[in-house]
Amino acid sequence: MKKNEFNIVDFVKIYSEDKLALFFLINLIFILILVIFGPLFTLQNPYDLSQLNILDSLLPPLSQSYENNYFFLGTDDQGRDLLSAIIYGLRISLYVGILSVVISLIIGIILGVVSAYFGGIVDSFIMRVADMVLAMPSFLIALVLLSILGRGLENVVFALVMSQWATFARVIRSSALSEKEKDYFYSAKCLCLPQYRIVFGHLLPNCLPPIIVLSTINLAFAITLEASLSFLGVGLPITEPSIGLIISNGYEYIIVGKYWMSLYPGLFLLITVISINIFSDRLRILLNPRLNI
């Protein structure tokens, strides 16, 4: 029955027993470093037009620029270094993804716990609204909202939050309901603790483990959703090009054989999403209390 106290060194040790998961974790860390510190070592700021040279446009990978710089992944139709564009694009994609997950997490936690704690009509109302949201494909919700609101970073985040909060609320509610039956909850009531303490001090911290896994899965989902929206041209504006927009830009050149402008950003997106997914899958296994690591 004894469970060890959470220890990051042990956790990494156990995590790395699965070599594939370890590989993708390293990958994920690498991508995060690339994205956070990217502007320090990219060749150019791809959206500073003064740094671009139209003579460099449409160069294949590994070609040399006018100023003898290497374009590892080639350039796009405006002479932009593709690698730099991808790093800047991933930055925006991850930013939008994380922001929307955090906001929907907060909304989901509050609604889920309130729903479980009060029960009755409050519970029914919140959960029926959540059911309505879950009944519709999240892509559709985001698409409809964005066509009404128009492009823009805030609007994309809003659309992603609207399509994701219900999952969080549902999961938090169900784990809060089972925690509510445990004796520590009764004993908190018996000690006349104020309601906010019972909800946020006792109930909430014990509902969190499934949420950690769910947020990482939803992060990958949010990133793909945003990329698809941007690809369709309803997502982020041209001034804040996410990875979806870069893929969409190169899309029309595939037909003339300039494959790299869509392929490489696509690959980067794929690797990022797979890394996050495998990471969350491994977390799900490790945090499963039945396995009792």
Partner: protein, 548 residues
């Protein structure tokens, strides 16, 4: 010898270390013998049972030793050959029939499956066999009831069905792992009697694994005592119980609560007055549940459950009042209503002549300690925060005083205050129960309601907690309501005792008197079926309160 175990070692390989669950065991049982294995939790008794039929799960493994069954070593058999033995030659009965029976298959399907897996006979013959063995375990109208699903039976009946399935192939050996632990006293007595009878009739050997020595006294031929993965003592029932040799056996026997040490006190000052209390658990009135009940065959289930019926009770200041009853009699509900956690439907409860209401629970004077020490402490808080939270919130102390305040109560409850910065999972069950008691005491209550606080604990730990409760009762003049299904524990600790049956108090009085001269027939039935290590002949006297 039907089964011979030689130097068996079963170890569990975990990340940190190797747990030697079974450590060098030698054990024999001859056909028709009933052998009891007793030990506390973690002594390896269940693992030994699982090792025999090779149902060990990762990371457990038999590392050494041989198990001869009918003279053949079965530790080396492959899964396919083992399957032909398991269920056919050796079968197993588990603690909880609710878990061991498949809820979505009818009893018929499960029994016939068990027969056809090992015998080449027709479906019809298999069914006859199944009905026959249900009749053997005392199920009336077996031909109709065989169509039932597990949830349509009560706990005792389910365990009978599990026994019927275990016996259906006429095995040579049955391993029963705590099969009566989840059952009430009267049901337990029936199951004990039944199993013993069937095994003797069929000349089946039986290994009965339990933590409760008193259950074994009337049932078995021989007893083995396990401790830390080893069998420390084996012998006939009389030898072990009357003349134990090993110090651990002595300790186990001495920890069984015996007799009564508390006289009724001559006090007439009532702390709590309960008048005409009624509690009804309403059935959920939603569309889904209405739809469900619409299709349900048993319409009598539709009536709301009356958990407590028109109950009146006085609790005297400074006494220990025992409340006993079988599961579902409403004793826990009563405790929760008194402590203000549950709402009552009608009736009045007065605390020091003032009425208590559920809606505004503001008084800290009545506190409650719960059954399961594993879920009653918030796993994410340190002990100091668990104990000091309520006193700080209610301004009994301020934050700076908490360390001193908490150590005082930890000392009172017998845990070293040095441990206050640890988390609950670092403590054993008994220690956690002490922490839970300390938490309740920290708000200076005058009444403490203990709801089955020792039933999840081993006998020796149980004795310690009972002594703690007695000490608190004496030194702090704390009024204690001690709720338990265990009659001997209640008898040991209480001044007065209330016997509950289906939401009513059927008998109330001085516990010495109630236990020696019960007046109500239910109390008599309870006491008659109580296993006792002094009596060696199995009794089956309950005629009035049978199920089925």
């Amino acid at each position: 010898m039907i089964l011979e175990i030689k130097n068996l070692k079963t170890h569990f390989f975990t990340r940190e270390n190797i747990v030697k669950a079974v450590d060098d065991i030698n054990f024999n049982i001859s056909s028709g013998e009933i052998h009891g294995i007793a030990g506390e939790s973690g002594s390896g008794k269940s693992v030994m049972g699982l090792s025999i039929i090779n149902l060990l799960q990762e990371p457990g493994k038999i590392v050494e030793g041989k198990i001869y069954f009918n003279g053949k070593d079965i530790t080396k058999l492959n899964e396919k050959k083992m399957k032909s033995i398991r269920g056919k030659k050796i079968s197993m009965i588990f603690q909880d029939a609710t878990m061991s029976l498949n809820p979505i298959l009818s009893i018929e399907t499960q029994m016939i499956e068990a027969v056809l897996a090992h015998n080449k006979i027709s479906y019809k013959e298999a069914k006859n066999l199944a009905v026959q063995s249900l009749i053997e375990v005392g199920i009336k109208d077996a031909e109709i009831k065989i169509k039932y699903y597990p949830h349509e039976f009560s706990g005792g009946m389910r365990q009978r069905v599990a026994i019927a399935i275990a016996l259906i192939n006429k095995p040579d050996l049955i391993i029963a792992d705590e099969p009566t632990t989840a059952l009430d006293v009267t049901t337990q007595a029936q199951i004990l009697y039944l199993t013993q009878k069937l095994c003797k009739e069929n000349n089946t050997a039986l290994i009965w694994i339990t933590h409760d020595l008193s259950v074994l006294s009337g049932l078995v031929d021989k007893i083995s005592i396990m401790y830390n993965g080893k069998i420390v003592e084996t012998g006939g029932v009389d030898n072990i119980l009357d003349d134990p040799q090993h110090y651990y056996t002595k300790k186990l026997i001495n920890s069984i609560p015996k007799g009564n040490i508390n006289e009724e006190r001559k006090i007439d000052d009532n702390v709590i007055n309960i008048q005409n209390l009624t509690k009804i658990y309403e059935k959920r009135n939603t569309f889904a549940s209405n739809l469900f009940t619409f299709f349900q065959a048993n319409k009598h289930d539709l009536k709301p459950d009356k958990a407590i019926k028109n109950l009146s009770l006085n609790i005297k200041r400074g006494e220990i009042l025992g409340v006993v009853g079988e599961s579902g009699c409403g004793k826990s509900t009563l405790g929760k209503i008194i402590s203000g956690i549950l709402e009552k439907n009608s009736g009045n409860i007065f605390y020091n002549q003032k009425e208590i209401s559920y809606a505004k629970k503001t008084s800290l004077d009545i506190q409650m300690v719960f059954q399961d020490p594993y879920s009653s402490l918030n796993p994410r808080k340190k002990i100091i925060d668990i104990i000091a939270e309520a006193p700080i919130v209610h301004k009994i102390i301020n934050k700076q005083q908490s360390k001193e305040y908490v150590s005082k109560f930890m000392n009172d409850c017998g845990i070293s205050p040095d441990l206050m910065f640890r988390y609950p999972h670092q403590f054993s069950g008994g220690q956690r129960q002490r922490i839970a008691i300390a938490r309740s005491l920290a708000v200076n209550p005058s009444v403490l309601i203990c709801d089955e606080i020792v039933s999840a604990l081993d006998v020796s730990i149980q004795a310690q907690i009972l002594n703690l409760i007695l000490k608190l009762n004496k030194t702090k003049n704390l009024t204690i309501v001690f709720i338990s299904h265990d009659l001997s524990v209640v008898n040991y600790i209480s001044n007065r005792v209330a016997v509950m049956y289906f939401g009513e108090i059927v008998e109330l009085g001085n516990s010495k008197k109630v236990f020696s001269q019960p007046s109500h027939s239910y109390t008599k039935a309870l006491l008659a079926n109580l296993p006792n290590i002094k009596e060696r002949n199995i009794k089956y006297k309950s005629t009035l309160y049978t199920e089925g």
